[in-house]
Symmetry: C2
Amino acid sequence: MKIISQVFQEISPADFFYRNREIAGFANPARAIFSAIRELVENSLDATEPVGILPDIYIRLSPVKGEGGEGENLYVLRVRDNGSGIPADYVPLAFCQFLFSSKYKLRQSRGTFGLGGTMTILYGQITTNKPVKVISSTGSQKIYEYTLMIDIERNRPIILDRKIRENERGWHGTIVELSLEGDYIKAMPKVLEYLKQTAIVNPYANIIFIDPRGRLYKFERVVLSLPPQPKETLPHPHGVDVEMLYRIIRVTRCKTLLDFMQEHFHRVGKRIAQRFLEFAGFPEEADPKSLKPEEIVKLVQAMKSFNDFLPPDADCLSPLGEEILRAGILKELEPEFVDVTQRKPSAYSGHPFIIEVGIAYGGKVPVRDDILLYRFANKIPLVYDESGDVSWKIVKSIDWRKYGLTPGMPFAVLVHICSTKIPWKTVGKEMIADIPEVSREILNGVREVARQLGAYLSKKERDKREKARLSVFAKYLPKIAEFSAKLAGRNEIPSVENLLRRAKKIEED
Amino acid sequence: MKIISQVFQEISPADFFYRNREIAGFANPARAIFSAIRELVENSLDATEPVGILPDIYIRLSPVKGEGGEGENLYVLRVRDNGSGIPADYVPLAFCQFLFSSKYKLRQSRGTFGLGGTMTILYGQITTNKPVKVISSTGSQKIYEYTLMIDIERNRPIILDRKIRENERGWHGTIVELSLEGDYIKAMPKVLEYLKQTAIVNPYANIIFIDPRGRLYKFERVVLSLPPQPKETLPHPHGVDVEMLYRIIRVTRCKTLLDFMQEHFHRVGKRIAQRFLEFAGFPEEADPKSLKPEEIVKLVQAMKSFNDFLPPDADCLSPLGEEILRAGILKELEPEFVDVTQRKPSAYSGHPFIIEVGIAYGGKVPVRDDILLYRFANKIPLVYDESGDVSWKIVKSIDWRKYGLTPGMPFAVLVHICSTKIPWKTVGKEMIADIPEVSREILNGVREVARQLGAYLSKKERDKREKARLSVFAKYLPKIAEFSAKLAGRNEIPSVENLLRRAKKIEED
């Protein structure tokens, strides 16, 4: 028998994502253009709004002409923001090393995997062989300008150039400029849809996009208030696993389990800690660092099954709020009717989340054969792979006729989930997984706004009928008055105004 | 203005997948049990069939009882195969280090990302805090038994124990045994479906599964022939990017571009290399190592746009073949009708692929409200997230009534794609992306077998009608004969046998 010997090989994280770029949203030239814009815009939003800055984002996609005749699918993408900037020493690693990021914390942010920006730069590099230029300042006295590439096999940044300029006007922000291959013509509908929807859920942002033909798309800020800033939070006991517990034990300074529980976990006070330790069968005075491996498992299992922990607090989340959501919808869709609702905070496996839902009818709401759904997660619009998303499943399961609605009418549903941990199905962040707690909240939220729209539509229908009835009155009452006057031999025709007014009043009551 | 300083952090690949285990198929206890079994079984199949061994795979999932009362969701999973085994020195890295694998080659295999096994071990570790035991031999004089854990923060194996035994009977293979938390009751339908479908596309394998209640599921080998072994192949010029070209240039010994093109790329002979270099505007004699960065881009762009390269050869692929596919379907579904087809090799972005399609009707084919679709990729059954898969889109787009079929009839469609690069949508390997070249082949394949089934069903319907007609003849002809005989005053009734036989014959012609 012949046994082929296997060749084993170690690859770097950069090499892994280089080989599997499809799963991160870079499957083909059209998708790549979309993902590149999306990733850089989201980094810009994450560098502004959560730190209290009203975002000004400028995006320019320019064609590269000339070079070798083959240039019509080569572009330069430049994205500039007025965000907090990146400390100079971190620029090369933050942009050109995979798995190096500021996003590996228990806090709501658009980025989760900490690899979108680097993935974009990698894609640009492997299609054009050109370096990326990053200009950044934190508002200090200097502006740093780096020219960088990625050493993919070793997952390290290569610094080709570094310039330092005086920051005379105290500018803070980041500019990223890179070359990439793409297909903007094909990507265009998705890119514009993405920007429009980004403007809906970020109505406090100014976004300017200049496309390869020089067309300017401008999404202007309509509110000046920002959502509450997301806070970093402690892990909820229900979401803890053995590895996490080990890591916390390694760094803790607590000498007793009673202190330990209160110090390191979300919403655990003294009384709850005591009741929990009794339930779990651990003495309050035990030293966390002396726990044996099997005791650690026992503690984790007890954390999962103890039902009296307080539910996670949504204070750490940054939902839009009904006002901002309404403003965003009114701005981009100009509907004749809008309703929004924010559900109460809920949680799955220890992760808090909030669902916000909106509905819009009429105005500029597009008409589609099927239901029009806008999906958002941590203020990111999701514009691909709708059919695999939990929200799509929910809106398709609803009997819309109950609310006087059928697909084909000009109405749109918006679902926004925010969480410290969005249950993504993929690294490309297109679909949200079907978690029971999440789908229940979405269903209830959609029903709530659908009822409001249903009530509005049935009132509108009633009004229309009454108006028709009144116009019949208005048409015939004068005739009757005239006829009656003639019949009575009177010259003066009595006024019907009072009668009409009364009829109208009865309708309105 | 307040600017919060960002905290940057580097995490290891192990830590990345630990934090994002949902995207690799470990979202919840039910899914985790399924994925654990699947990943280990696929590693076992990859260690046997592609190297010419008829697979014998033994899977045992046992409950862990007692420990602390909370034990009903803890299991021990043991998977044993008779594969090629893993060289002793590689065992710790291959099992307990992410991004270390034998699968990072241009060759068809079930594994792609090289992380399923390690992911399973990591999940077991973070839920039970127990090490994994790996026993392996390549058939040499020794059997190695390792007890291992993963240092997640550093992405390194921790060797807790290593035993060496004599391999007296020349055994080769691998045994993996690990503890994990899970929910087998919920996972059971998917696990059994997965094993049944694995048996359909791997009918040359013996697979035994013992579930937590001790029930034995046995899938026995019905064919002794293996599919052709997949071969490693060179990259096709259409799929080359700048990074790949750099890597090849770095290792090449070729002194001229003419040699270089022939040596390193798939199906490039001298004449094609000459025509291509002329097209691309490069001298044949140019030294590949002296190409400038912009020339490398130009060469890659030319490779993509030159239309006269030969299409990728499917020799490197290992499709099932019609015979094995038919045997698998007959064995597991015992249908009254089966048809299979293998499409001609095709390619997308330089990656060759082959689509195989089967259809089965009647027998043990389950009846479903909707169309019953079995999806396979490189001999892996895909049992989750059907609605996001390209094959589902295709079968839903077909007008089945044209073939005399409606959902609810006992028929099943099977689609198998094999490729050196399956266009996965996710790391969890549940869905195949909608690539135009792929969907076209699937559509044509499904139509082909559907036509065969349609023809079978209409013949069956015709036969039934004729049988009914003949039975009418058979009932009345003797009466007529009897009556006619009486009328003619004859005692002997003439035989109608000849007439009936003739009617039957006319029908059959």
